[in-house]
Symmetry: C2
Subunit: 208 residues, 2 copies
Amino acid sequence: MPRIAEARQPAEPTSAEQKDRYRRILRAASKLGAEHGLERMQMNDVAKEAGVAIATLYRYFPSKTDLFVGVLHSQIQWLSSSGEGVVTAAPAGERAAAVAEVLIGAGRGMLARPQLATAMLQANNAAQLQGGREYTEANAAFHNVLIRALGVEEPGDEDYRMVRIMEQTWYGVLVSVLNGVIDADQADDDIRLASQLLLGPRYDGSAA
Amino acid sequence: MPRIAEARQPAEPTSAEQKDRYRRILRAASKLGAEHGLERMQMNDVAKEAGVAIATLYRYFPSKTDLFVGVLHSQIQWLSSSGEGVVTAAPAGERAAAVAEVLIGAGRGMLARPQLATAMLQANNAAQLQGGREYTEANAAFHNVLIRALGVEEPGDEDYRMVRIMEQTWYGVLVSVLNGVIDADQADDDIRLASQLLLGPRYDGSAA
């Protein structure tokens, strides 16, 4: 893979046709990433599966990191928009539980395809290190889904901090499941307990 | 690197001379891992730096994963034994804070050499996936340091669970620092807050 391609800014799809190609690429990457993981998946195969030229693929996603951050981003956007029904402000007393359920749902969705999940987390870590725009947007979108579940109308620094700590806990739990240290049911229970303890006091007024 | 070496069981140092070579290898891996990270560090260079034959290195550490899990393990053992002074049972009311300080200390130690920290976490994840003995021992030792700080004399399942959730949170926070999402001071504050919320109610009887 030419180094120069990795440093280039990814293009944005604008026309309907471009958006369609873009979506086909993300679908192909999800499928092949789930089968092969980040390292063994080939960009050539993604282009073939998506039915686009390899140059088109690189124009939108200059590297595998960009590609899997793109897949993660699209999953979060889906979570965020389908959330009109699911992720709305919970009533007081059930806000910590609402955040837990969003995280459990997102976690279950990822764990259904463990190789893809690992690829997305690897890519997200790499993108964070590089400070990419895509990463920042994806992360902000995810935090906003959680803020919405919490029912905070005008979130302040402390709200974003609490959501970040909860997300970091969820991330640690998710890695433990991917590594086989705990199973998915245990993870669900742990996320519920952690959310209750971390968010309950502030958002549900629950004493310990 | 021959694949067969990766699958072999690592040898244990027994004689004083073997233990000395073993320690020299871990020191060399720490130094070179801190400079180059896991991928770019060469096993040959570790053997050279440690002054041992390459066959000796592979006998104790059949792969880089084994080697960096070994470094992590030795750091935890150091934390555990030096802990006679530092990590003792905290008085009631300060137990969550005590756990936070252990985690902050361990985190600061790791963040002082970010490339080595990333290498150890990468290796630990890989070892967990393979279910290695070394990993299990290192993790159990770390959990016991935290249990000791909590002052739990006869830990039960729920104690190990709480310690595991706290460790997962710490892990998520640590990855955020390594990725540049938050800085080390913010991480310390977040670990203190998370520990207070997760462990305070059960171990310090603190209401929210």
